[in-house]
């Protein structure tokens, strides 16, 4: 599906995209954010019945916070920002300036309605940035929706159902490290075959230009 050269170039672009998103998050959280170079995978849900998430620990079954946003026109799909629910409160508190270093293991059940609003804005900023950068890379204009934020309990069996209708998923996972808390997150872009081909064609073109 994707060769090493395509993967490397895509990784480089995504690193820049996620870096820009991290800068915006840094402004919101009002603290420095360190970013791990993202790992990327293209997953095919149909051909792999024994699908398992490549991010051990992060995506073990349990509660997760999932924000999803649709984007469309020529390059279309759904983008999701996912991280463990137990860490969501840390991120919210950091953005609200309420982080308490003595309380780094908050319970996700403490997330209040207004905390979900903050998570919605965080997801909005990060996903807008990443999707927008993909649009710029492909030179296409995209339509955006606003994200829906939900707490999802994902059992082992439901990991597949959660994304059942998707054929191909471009998945990049990274770790944002805030000054006072470590936050692992996954960004998924669920793409149809046409959109994925469009992206890989663009990557091939750039690789061709580089080789010329």
């Amino acid at each position: 599906m994707i060769n090493d050269s395509q993967k490397d170039l895509l990784k480089e672009y995504i690193n820049v995209f996620v870096g820009k998103a991290a800068n915006m998050l840094s402004e919101m959280a009002n603290q420095r954010i360190l970013l791990r170079v993202p790992e990327i995978e293209i997953l095919n849900m149909q051909n792999d019945d024994k699908f398992s998430w490549p991010t051990d620990g992060l995506f073990s079954y349990g509660h997760i916070i999932s924000s999803s946003m649709k984007f469309g026109r020529d390059f279309s799909g759904r983008a999701l920002l996912i991280f463990p629910a137990s860490k969501a409160k840390l991120l919210v508190d950091a953005c609200l300036g309420e982080i308490d270093s003595d309380d780094l293991q908050p319970d996700s059940s403490q997330l209040a309605d207004t905390d979900f609003d903050v998570l919605k804005e965080i997801s909005n900023v990060i996903l807008n940035c990443v999707i927008g950068e993909f649009g710029n890379l492909l030179g296409v204009k995209l339509d955006f929706t606003l994200p829906d934020v939900e707490v999802v309990f994902v059992s082992e069996a439901e990991q597949q159902l959660y994304l059942k209708n998707s054929v191909h998923i471009l998945m990049f996972y990274t770790a944002f490290t805030l000054e006072k808390a470590k936050l692992d997150g996954v960004i998924l872009m669920v793409l149809g075959m046409n959109s994925l081909n469009m992206l890989l064609t663009k990557i091939d073109n750039i690789l061709g230009e580089l080789n010329d």
């Binding site: 919101m28 309380d103 309605d113 207004t114 609003d117 903050v118 649009g135 995209l142 606003l146």
Partner: protein, 340 residues
């Protein structure tokens, strides 16, 4: 498709604002009129940033500009940004209100417009804040109770003077060790130790010196055993040690020599320099007893044999040398301590 009358926008229980690309107000619905001091006629055609001054700040200007340029939607949460519009009461008092804003681009008859949806979350925000404060106070209270319980539990099983486990704690560990090691080949040693002529130190220099001596002795005993072993203060000048995983007598002799070595250097307490010795008896599990009480008793028996002999020494419990004349109540310490 039916065409909806514009009045329907005034029936909505949320604010709607429509801007053109120059960010001039085209629509200001009835909800917005109610929640601000502006009516729709007075704001029509005005710059949005003039009516909502927070949008003169660079970061909010940039939000609208980005929505116009890229078509992306932006959500601004009231919890994060606070109030965008002030609510004026009938007597013109400004009431603090908090709103969520949703800013999106819409295309209408070839015109690119900006739709701003405004949701008042003031009461929700205050409820959440009250709830958060309540949870925080509960957490603090809970932590205080937890700390008090920990402290009480620690006091119940620890000696306040030396910080060492007390007799109850020692006996629990010894009983647990026997239960775990039952059917295994691992042995263990129980050492019953007391400080020679401690009463004379107390009588001569007072209890504060006696207490300081016990504290130093506790530290020295800890230094002579492994972290996995245990030392406890039973009472007065009596200490007990539990040495795990003993394979031979040599293991115990090695520990005994370390204890002796620890007591070979003088105890410095203020300006005093006291040469103090200790005596102890040793029993070995499983040979000298199969329960905690017996093992401690046999170590105690061995100790009193030492005390009756020459002190400053140790002995292993020996069942065949038991002598009724050496019972504790017949022992009278007479030696004096050496004071430099």
């Amino acid at each position: 498709m039916i065409s909806l009358p514009i009045d329907i926008l005034d029936k909505l229980s949320m604010g709607l604002i429509l801007l053109n690309q120059k960010q001039e107000i085209l629509l200001w619905n009835h909800w917005m009129e109610n929640k601000t001091q502006f009516d729709s006629k007075s704001v029509f055609g005005k710059a949005f940033s003039e009516v909502c001054p927070r949008f003169q700040e660079t970061k909010y200007k940039k939000v609208i500009e980005t929505v116009i340029e890229t078509g992306e939607g932006r959500f601004l949460s009231g919890a994060l940004h606070g109030s965008f519009f002030h609510h004026f009461s009938s007597d013109s008092y400004i009431l603090p209100t908090i709103q969520n804003l949703q800013i999106e681009q819409i295309v209408f008859e070839d015109h690119c417009l900006i739709l701003i949806q405004v949701n008042d979350i003031t009461s929700q925000y205050h409820t959440v804040h009250q709830m958060k404060s309540f949870i925080k106070s509960l957490e603090i209270e809970n932590e205080e109770i937890r700390q008090a319980e920990l402290e009480a539990r620690k006091l119940a099983v620890h000696d306040a003077l030396t910080g060492l486990p007390n007799r109850t704690n020692f006996m629990n560990h010894l009983t647990k060790m026997i239960r775990i090691q039952h059917n295994s080949f691992n042995g263990a040693a129980v050492i019953f130790l007391d400080i020679d002529n401690f009463k004379i130190v107390n009588d001569s220099y007072g209890h504060s010196v006696g207490d300081a001596l016990l504290q130093i002795a506790a530290e020295r005993l800890k230094a002579s055993i492994r972290k996995s072993d245990m030392v406890a203060r039973l009472s007065g000048d009596e200490f007990a040690l539990l040495i795990y995983n003993v394979n031979s007598r040599d293991n115990i002799i090695s520990v005994a020599n370390k204890i002796m070595a620890q007591f070979s250097t003088p105890f410095i307490i203020g300006k005093l320099q006291l040469s103090v010795t200790c005596s102890f008896g040793i029993s070995i599990y499983p040979f000298d007893g199969a329960d905690a009480v017996t093992l401690l008793h046999q170590a105690d028996t061995a100790l009193y044999r030492v005390k009756n002999d020459k002190k400053a020494d140790y002995q292993f419990y020996c069942p065949y040398e038991h002598d009724d004349d050496l019972k504790p109540n017949k022992m009278v310490p007479t030696d004096t301590i050496a004071i430099k």
